[in-house]
C-alpha cells in the first residue's frame, strides 16, 4: 500500500461527506495561494497534525515522499538561484539573494502544502466516493454526461497504481535481462517504455472485455453519500481558518 492509496479509518476526515471534502480542498488551495510565508507555515503545521491523526506520521511521510522532497529541494535551489536581489552568499561570482531565499521558501512551502492537501483527500477517501462526488457535482451541468465522467474518474484512479506496478514489473524484467547495462540511454528508455505502454494498453483491453462481459451500462444505481453530521462545523471553521491566514498575508 502506498501513501497515496486509501487508508481505512473512522476519523472525522474519513466520515466527512466527500462533496464537502472536495469543496474544502478547493477553498484551502485558493487560500494557500493568497497567503504568505506565515500563513503557509501555520497551514503546514495544521495539515501535519491532521496527517498524524490519520496515522501518517512525519517518518512515514518523509520515507514515502523521498522523490517529492528531492524535487522540492530542486525547486527551492532553482528559484533561489534565478531570483534577483541583495546578495546573501557569493560563490565564484554567482550570487544567491535574500529575496530569492524568501521567494524560494514560499514557493516550495506552497507546493508542499498543496501536495499534503491532496494527500489527505486520497488517504481518507475511497475512489468510489470521489467518483460519486464527481457525478453529483456534474448532475446540474447541461450537456455533460455525468455518469460517464464519473466512470472515467473511477477508472483513471484505478489505472494509476496499475501503471506504476506495471512499470516496476517491466523494470525488473529488463534488469533481469541486463537491459540496465546498455550504454545507449535512448535504447534503455525505449526498452523500458515500449513494453510498459504495450502492457498497459493490453490491460485496458482486458478490462474493456471484462466490463462488456458483465453487461456494463451507464444506467447504474446512484451511489449514496454518508455524512457524519459535522459538515457545517467543519466548513465554518475552515472558512474562519482560511480568512485568518489570508488576512495574515
Amino acid at each position: 500500500m502506498t501513501l497515496f492509496s486509501y487508508h481505512p479509518g473512522d476519523t472525522l476526515w474519513h466520515t466527512l461527506d466527500v462533496r464537502c471534502k472536495c469543496l474544502l480542498m478547493c477553498l484551502l488551495s485558493l487560500a494557500v495561494l493568497k497567503t504568505g510565508l506565515p500563513g503557509n507555515i501555520i497551514c503546514l503545521c495544521v495539515l501535519m497534525g491532521i496527517l498524524k491523526m490519520l496515522g501518517v506520521g512525519p517518518v512515514k511521510l518523509v520515507t514515502q515522499l523521498k522523490c517529492f522532497l528531492l524535487l522540492l529541494t530542486l525547486i527551492f535551489f532553482c528559484r533561489w538561484a534565478v531570483t534577483p536581489g541583495h546578495p546573501m552568499v557569493t560563490l565564484h561570482g554567482f550570487s544567491l539573494t535574500r529575496q530569492g531565499f524568501a521567494s524560494a521558501g514560499l514557493v516550495s512551502l506552497r507546493f508542499l502544502v498543496v501536495m499534503l492537501l491532496g494527500l489527505i483527500l486520497t488517504v481518507t477517501t475511497r475512489s468510489m466516493e470521489i467518483k460519486a462526488a464527481v457525478q453529483w457535482f456534474f448532475k446540474p451541468v447541461p450537456f455533460i454526461p455525468e455518469k460517464r465522467v464519473a466512470v472515467m474518474v473511477g477508472l483513471a484512479l484505478k489505472f494509476m497504481p496499475l501503471i506504476l506496478d506495471n512499470a516496476r514489473e517491466v523494470t525488473h524484467a529488463v534488469n533481469a535481462r541486463c537491459g540496465n547495462l546498455r550504454k545507449n540511454p535512448v535504447r534503455r528508455l525505449v526498452n523500458l517504455a515500449w513494453p510498459l505502454l504495450k502492457k498497459t494498453f493490453q490491460s485496458a483491453d482486458d478490462l474493456s472485455l471484462a466490463m462488456q462481459a458483465r453487461c456494463y451500462s451507464e444506467n447504474r444505481t446512484d451511489a449514496r453519500f454518508f455524512s457524519n453530521g459535522k459538515e457545517g462545523w467543519v466548513v465554518g471553521l475552515t472558512f474562519i481558518f482560511c480568512a485568518g491566514i489570508v488576512l495574515m498575508g
Partner: protein
C-alpha cells in the same frame, strides 16, 4: 440491473481513463527549471490527441483538469487545487483542452500519414505555448521577453523531442487499439 446493457461503447471510456492516468503520471515526473517545470504530461496530451477521436481527446483532458481542480494530486509534482489555474502554469493547464482537440482534429480518423501526425502534434504543442506564455506574462507581470525566456525558450528542445516521441508512440500503438 436497469437500463439496456452496452448503451455506449466502453472502449473509448476505458482508453480515455487510461490517458488521464498517463497524463497524471507524466505530470508527477516534473523537473523544475524556473516558474514552469519540465513535465511529460504535455507529451501524453498530444498522444491522447493523436490516438483518441476529437471529442474523447478533449473530454479526457477536461476530466483530468477537473480531477486536479477537485483536489486529487494529478498536476505537476503531485500538486492539485483550483488555485493552480491562477498560478504561472494555469495557462498551460487550460491549453491542454484545445491542444488535445486540435491535435485530434488535424490527425483525423481515416488516413494517418506521418506528415499529418507531425503537423497535428506541432499544432497541439503550439497551442500550449500560445495560451501558456501570455498567461505567464499576465500572472508574473513581466515583459514579453522575460515571459518567453521563462516559459518557452528553455522548453523548445524538449518540446521537439516530445513531439517526435508522441508521433512514434502513436504510430506504434494504433494497431493495438481498436474502438
Amino acid at each position: 440491473m436497469n437500463g439496456t446493457p452496452m448503451d455506449v461503447s466502453i472502449k473509448p471510456i476505458i482508453y480515455s481513463a487510461l490517458f488521464i492516468a498517463l497524463i497524471s503520471i507524466g505530470a508527477m515526473i516534473a523537473v523544475p527549471v524556473g516558474p514552469v517545470p519540465i513535465v511529460l504530461q504535455n507529451m501524453f496530451v498530444l498522444l491522447a490527441g493523436l490516438i483518441l477521436p476529437p471529442a474523447w481527446a478533449a473530454g479526457c483532458v477536461a476530466v483530468y483538469l477537473l480531477m486536479g481542480f477537485a483536489g486529487l494530486p494529478v498536476f505537476a509534482g503531485g500538486t492539485s487545487g483550483i488555485g493552480k489555474v491562477f498560478g504561472p502554469t494555469g495557462g498551460y493547464l487550460l491549453s491542454y483542452l484545445p491542444a488535445a482537440f486540435l491535435t485530434a482534429v488535424i490527425s483525423g480518423r481515416a488516413a494517418k500519414s506521418l506528415v499529418r501526425d507531425c503537423g497535428a502534434a506541432i499544432a497541439g504543442m503550439a497551442v500550449m505555448y500560445m495560451f501558456g506564455v501570455p498567461w505567464l506574462k499576465w500572472v508574473l507581470a513581466v515583459s514579453w521577453g522575460k515571459a518567453l525566456a521563462a516559459g518557452m525558450y528553455p522548453f523548445v528542445p524538449g518540446a521537439v523531442l516530445k513531439i517526435i516521441a508522441a508521433v512514434i508512440i502513436a504510430r506504434k500503438l494504433r494497431p493495438l487499439i481498436r474502438f
